[in-house]
Symmetry: C2
């Protein structure tokens, strides 16, 4: 069973109407990080709920409590939970998306008003804040529901929805909601067989992606103190131990120029890539030129494409971010800073965890500091972190997405792991214990958090077909299995 | 010949009047760095010129051109040049001082109005902006002139004066003035035998000082670039060379924890301290406790007092000041900064010069950067600098100051070298080719550029006696020599 031709034809035929609907969604400036826009986030929740209801989805707006923002106590925007289909013979797929957006002002450098959709037919670009992150993908699901409802087609799977309005502001309240719903015997997530999240991007502008891994993170600061206040380097230079000298020495002992992390034990238990995994990198449609083009400089740390890709996707890394408390301005200041905090973070891969890495970081930095033999004070602080995640790409959830991609795009998808984090992935994987698929709609150059955010109309329309087709492929594979 | 008893008695007897006059000077907020106060700097110049004229000093207000400040073109405040005495049998001493002050607002944390003198009889403190830096010392000279004029006494030497109103703003215009006057056969500085500058401080709160050396400075930045813009460490960490990693490595190769500079050749030609010089440090009334008390922490880099003193006064040092372009805020930011500039400076001692040290710094940093073997770009920039200075303390100018100190304070002075710079010293020494003496009036805790700036009344009155007595000792020594 593949997706019925009339489904894909409907999507194609209704493209203009779908683009207009995306324009309606973009026009609601649902900026979760701006207290004065909280009403618009709630308005966006109502708009979305009404759309879902129109196509037969039962919904509940779940209050998530309050937050402190800009000195005010604000109600968090509600999450929207939804369900459609209860056929015990069908698989149940949980869909996640977020209806809040990043801030945007025309004066930031946008070519057009960010909250007025601008569809340029010549280039095929749908511009506007939220077009690709994450209103486009959410509306992709609405298009699928719309098609089935209008055409009187049964959905091939049962669907559950979890849409939130706080993703761009740390997904406040969502972890608790997922945990409590997952724990309920008859909750909204009961019977969910797999999860599908469309909230990331292709690796390039050409090739559809399935994303199966995310690195975790562990963020630290090394704080060094000694003097009572900043000292004048003319008066004290040469007579005292200087916090910056010690901090620079410690920061210099964390990682080599080519990215090898020097903290003992940090690589413990990380599997070397097997032939199967190496093949995935070999097959990736992504060159060193792509990477350097996106980075804006010829700075790849290897001339081996696979090495660079694995450095980005599946190996841990350590970056030095900066120093708090030192002179950071333009020009010259002859200060000996009294109290400096060096910031660095590691990107983690399985089986690394922030807890385990923190023990190793603290032990190492403390022993290196002792070797410096100064009379200064040093403290290493773990600031925040998150575990890494890798999904099984042999699972039917990924197989279905692969087949759907091949059917819609006539291309084998790139299998990618993301270097950064998509924080909701882990709570779903951990609490539901099911396979999670990241199925991006947009391209690498969409500019998700940037000016002139866009979604290509072909990604929107083909992406809508892809989401629907994926559901049919899920039904097909799991029926025959 | 020592100072006549009636001179010192006059100073003592007129203390209240002198304090009131200091109050008049403090009341003129002659802040050279504030465009809106430029009129007050000029007013202060007029006030000072009138005082000098009253005691028979011939003066000229010399225009110094214009400057750009806060977007306006402003006339620089005039310098005041003065002369009194033309006896070819007498030595001619050039006096320098500055009549401008640092900014000050009560809201900065002052206990009293900064531009209203507050004389607390109980503690003996004369509080107010400029009390010690540098109006107190200038008024010390007025007190000497006042005494001689009122008592009908001849001055024991010929005096020349150079007072400026831009010291706190880089002494703009002064270098050119000194150079051009020094070049004139019959200029204001013709026949000057030695210079006396009162614009620094005792090393502690107990012991008068003669200062005979200043370290120079050479300030650098190491700029590293590569990416086109800041990168996300999740996406690029592990795949690219990172500017911060390279910068931290280079900054870590400049100096050891105990202050040894690692740049090859940097110590070339610096004399080791001979017995005579070592004795000067041994005799200094300054302990490691004094240093650590002032620094606000137990951070001296040696338990040997002499080592610490020499580290501060006569050896070169290197301090790391900070990094421009990296994350420098509170909290966490997972950025790979694209363009970072690490700032550091060396304090120089003879025979080091900024030119020579710059060659060595650039050669060393470039060779260390090449060893890192990255694909990033690096540039070392010399930002500014100044030569070090050391005076001959066997010269009659210092001998006279020593005898005067013993006569007034009944103490042998500390011979100090300052770690920082007093920029006017070098132009006088270089252009006039004569001995320059730094003869401080105030104490280490006066808070020159800080809140609650003060001058102890005993330092003001004894300091005025000291300045006059010094002139008599000059006459005495040079007559018998
Ligand atoms: Zn998103
Ligand atoms: Zn986003
Ligand atoms: Zn001064
Ligand atoms: Zn000053």
């Amino acid at each position: 069973m593949v997706a019925p031709q009339k489904f894909t034809e409907f999507i194609e035929a209704n493209a203009d109407r779908f683009i207009d609907r995306l324009g309606e969604a973009i026009a609601i400036p649902s900026i979760s990080g701006d207290a004065s826009r909280r009403g618009d986030v709630v308005k966006m929740a109502h708009w979305l709920e009404a759309q879902l209801n129109k196509y037969g989805v039962k919904t509940e707006k779940v209050p998530l409590g309050t937050q402190q923002l800009e000195g005010k106590t604000l109600d968090l925007p509600p999450a929207i939970l939804g369900r459609i289909g209860d056929d015990p013979k069908k698989k149940t797929i949980l869909i996640y998306g977020h209806f809040d957006v990043q801030p945007a002002n025309k004066s930031d450098g946008w070519d057009t008003e960010p909250f007025t959709m601008h569809y340029d037919k010549a280039s095929g670009k749908i511009m506007g804040r939220g077009s690709t992150d994450d209103k486009g993908p959410i509306l992709g699901w609405l298009n699928v529901l719309d098609a089935h409802s209008t055409l009187g087609l049964d959905l091939p799977v049962n669907l559950r929805f979890c849409f939130e309005g706080m993703e761009e502001s740390g997904s406040e309240g969502l972890d608790d909601l997922i945990a409590s719903e997952a724990a309920k015997k008859d909750g909204w997530f009961a019977g969910v067989d797999a999860v599908c999240i469309s909230d990331n991007y292709w690796l390039n502008t050409r090739t559809p992606c399935l994303t199966y891994g995310l690195r975790g993170i562990a963020y630290y600061q090394i704080i060094i103190s000694g003097p009572g206040s900043d000292l004048h380097s003319g008066i004290y230079g040469g007579a005292v131990y200087e916090p910056m000298t010690a901090l620079i020495a410690l920061m210099g002992k964390l990682v080599t120029q080519d990215g090898h992390i020097l903290i003992p034990g940090v690589y413990d238990g990380i599997a070397t890539a097997d032939a199967n995994e190496l093949k995935k990198y070999e097959e990736l449609d992504y060159s060193i030129d792509d990477l350097e083009g996106a980075a804006g400089g010829k700075i790849a740390n290897s001339s081996e494409r696979i090495t660079v890709l694995m450095g980005r996707m599946r190996n841990p890394s350590l970056s030095l971010h900066g120093i708090e408390g030192a002179f950071s301005g333009v020009g010259c200041k002859t200060v000996i800073p009294a109290h400096v905090a060096g910031k660095f973070s590691l990107r983690l891969v399985p089986p690394q965890t922030p807890d385990d890495i923190t023990k190793k970081v603290i032990a190492y930095v403390e022993s290196e500091f002792a070797k410096l033999n100064t009379r200064l004070n040093m403290k290493v602080e773990y600031m925040h972190g998150g575990k890494p995640w890798v999904a099984d790409i042999e699972h039917w959830n990924f197989e279905a997405a692969k087949k759907a991609t091949e059917a819609v795009y006539l291309q084998t998808p790139n299998y990618t792991r993301e270097g950064g984090s998509i924080p909701v992935t882990l709570p779903f994987a951990d609490n539901l214990g099911v396979n999670v698929l990241l199925l991006p709609m947009g391209r690498a150059d969409d500019g998700a958090h940037s000016t002139n955010e866009k979604l290509d109309v072909s990604n929107f329309i083909n992406g809508s077909k892809l989401l629907g087709t994926y559901l049919y492929e899920v039904a097909e594979i799991t029926q025959t299995a």
